[in-house]
Symmetry: C2
Subunit: 467 residues, 2 copies
């Protein structure tokens, strides 16, 4: 009778939500109802606390049994010891999906593990699907539903699906991603994974129409073999970007403590990601770069990179990183070369990387590379000394006047990835970002920009070999 397990849909698209553990004192139980009201969920939200009464103008029901309407998701924020009982009541109320945010389970050692096992037993027996415990649950930007309060900008609909293990981290990530131009479709923090794990969420996001790219922070796989099979399936349609911690023994110990999972050996994970076409990020910053670039750029046809730059040194740094990431910098075609020679000042070396220095030829060079059939992708390093930028500002010239619109640049070669790298004065950077975003990513490191393009190519060539 309860052996048939429900899917994850209700976690993201509930008809009604019960918050068990609403309270008047500071904390999630106080702020989450407010956030959900603000996000338009007030009429489908039911608060529960044995004390009853009212909170933020809403009735508080003393028990789940008294909740009216048709809630089909419970968000549980009660002390750990109370969770098994609450899960029984959730099931009694006919609800089959619960996000358990409470901490105090397997991450604490033996006693916590026992408690978690009890919760799991209740959930399995009663047919309740659980995300958590020790997490902050889900976000769906499409319907503005979230079981954690995030900044308003983080609810801007995007195409990146996020999977994280721990709650604080997932929360911080969501708070910061929009500042880096990454907008999400759905996000899940899995916590201790007593039931729902990364594989099931991967499959859900694989099928989700609004998700085009999946980014995942993983401390250890819940089930290694299933992870391999799942990644193989998912990456054949959508890129999966992974940051895996626990590379060192000390790092593994650290992860073992805090979400109660046991990390495996790093070399094994490396092999798994390589064989399944998952793109592994080395650092958290790189994970975010990858999400930004994969979500906005097409996959390249080949590995031939053209670099145009207004600083030779930054061009050299990007070239090093690009070659190390498996890209090549071909010679320019004869046509591109003669096209550039016509407008290049005497001091300019017409080659790849194409250092246009302070000449006015920047935009022409970028166009020439975008249109060169021997170039598969373009890295545009655009820096401007503050003094020059201020001159432009004084003359009323904006970055957009200088570069044209992002969509015009994009239209030059819609099939080629284009990434802009810039550094220097904050004012210039902000103007550049707002002129180009969201279509064209601006990355503030030549090495990270080059590596992101290398990852696009690596994923494309994996798909070609195995797709």
């Amino acid at each position: 009778m309860t052996s048939e397990r429900c899917g994850l849909e209700n976690f993201f698209n509930p008809r009604g939500v019960v918050l068990v553990g609403a309270r008047r004192s500071p904390g999630f139980g106080f702020v989450l109802p407010l956030a959900l009201q603000r996000q338009g969920w007030g009429d489908r939200l039911y608060l529960v606390n044995p004390a009853g009464g009212e909170l933020h103008g809403m009735p508080v029901y003393p028990s789940l049994a008294e909740v009216p309407g048709e809630p089909d998701l419970a968000v549980v924020i009660v002390p750990a010891e109370a969770v098994p009982g609450v899960l029984e009541e959730v099931a009694d109320r006919g609800i089959r999906h619960a996000v358990v945010e409470s901490a105090g389970f397997a991450e604490l050692g033996e006693e916590g593990r026992r408690l978690q096992k009890r919760c799991r037993e209740v959930a399995r027996r009663r047919g309740v699907r659980v995300i958590g415990p020790n997490c902050v649950g889900v976000v769906n930007t499409e319907n503005r539903f979230s079981t954690v309060e995030v900044v308003e900008e983080a609810l801007t609909p995007g195409t990146v699906g996020v999977i994280a293990q721990s709650g604080v981290f997932g929360n911080i990530l969501l708070d910061g991603l929009h500042q880096r131009g990454v907008f999400i479709s759905k996000a899940v923090t899995l916590g201790n994974r007593m039931d729902v794990d990364e594989c099931e969420v991967l499959m859900y996001l694989h099928a989700d129409r609004s998700t085009k790219v999946i980014m995942m922070y993983l401390e250890g796989a819940a089930d290694g073999r299933r992870l391999v099979e799942t990644l193989r399936l998912v990456t054949s349609d959508k890129p999966v970007l992974v940051l895996k911690s626990g590379r060192t023994e000390k790092g593994r110990e650290a992860t073992a403590s805090h979400t109660g999972s046991l990390s495996g050996e790093d070399e094994l994970y490396d092999a798994v990601f390589r064989q399944t076409g998952a793109v592994r990020a080395e650092t958290l910053e790189e994970l975010v770069d990858l999400a930004r670039v994969f979500a906005s750029q097409p996959l390249p046809r080949g590995n031939r990179l053209g670099i145009v730059t207004s600083s030779g040194s930054l061009g050299a740094l990007a070239t090093d990183a690009a070659v190390e990431a498996g890209l090549m910098l071909p010679f320019l075609s004869e046509e591109t070369e003669s096209r550039m020679r016509k407008i290049a000042p005497r001091w300019m070396n017409v080659r790849n990387p194409l250092d246009v220095g302070p000449s006015g030829a920047y935009l022409a060079a970028m166009k020439a590379l975008m249109e060169d059939p021997g170039i598969d992708m373009v890295l545009s390093i655009m820096v401007m000394p503050y003094a020059v930028f201020r001159e432009f500002q004084a003359r009323g010239v904006s970055v957009r006047d200088f570069l044209g619109s992002a969509s015009n640049l994009r239209a030059l070669a819609p099939e080629k990835p284009l990434v802009v790298c810039s550094l220097g004065d904050r004012g210039f950077l902000e103007e550049l970002d707002s002129s180009l975003g969201p279509e064209i990513p601006v990355i503030t490191s030549p090495e990270r920009a080059a590596r992101a393009l290398g990852a696009l190519y690596a994923y494309r060539s994996f798909r070609e070999r195995w797709g």
Copy 2:
């Protein structure tokens, strides 16, 4: 008579400056006089242009010969072909130091190389020391003298000496460093190095009292053997942080083009830096992190790192990077452990890395680690979900109320390096940065923060072995 070469002092502390190539049209010749006036150099600045007349309310002398006063430095911004003649006139006027900013020399190939050789011949024969060509010269924050216009904040006096090869890059670097909490003493962009090279500047900065840390971007050594000897000498007193491009063949080609130098093999450079105690950065961002941390933190006594974190995942990522950078995370001392157990909530694992989660124990944990005699340095990962930060703001609680002042934190263990890592909401980051800066660096990546601490230890142990 002219065989005795002058030192570099006049480049940084001129009595008076002639700007050859002042002009009314946009460009350096127009903006630099304005910038120097603004920086208090108007009464020691002389403009030269054959057209004569007036610029920004100052007389323009038709030739160097007509310049009054006691100028002892020339800044040359004229077309390349005119530079040999100008250098003769500079010498005729009794000036023995010239910054040649003009481009169009060895970076252009054979013809340019010949022209550069002619300039060099004049300079040698007439005893004129030259920085450049193809550069933007120098900055000295102490006397607010600069041969390039930079943002006002870049002139805030600091302790970091900067050596860069190319002009645009140096300029962009100066425009951006202050935003990352790095403040400079002196900066030099060397350009094509027809005379003054990185070794001579290293020696100058070695002797310079206001410089405590040297950061250098290098495309290729002017003289390999001399670089080894110079680095060995300098690093025994002051850390030298190096970013070297041309790691790959394509990258080397790119650098050969733009400042006319030939890059050497990367493995060789790696060995040179390792043997001389220079600290090599892998990326431009890392170079800036290193400057920030070396300029503000003491050298650690050993490699025992304590990590306190409000996010377990970020703690794990930092732990991996720290171990890979040669640091170790020791067990906490019994005293520290019992001190923490007294205040730790039940769910907290008292260990290293010390994940305090959302407990109120953050500051107490940080203090405990700072005061633990078994810990040589502390990485403090402080993140706060936006919802929590907003709660604090609403209650009028600032980061400073929460953490205390930077100098109080610093006073807990003045001999231990302390780096803070944070991520997430921009408002929180800015408040954190302004509460802790400039004494305590805030780095927005757990991996980069850990690596910077690893570099501090590596430099310290080099000094102990060879000092």
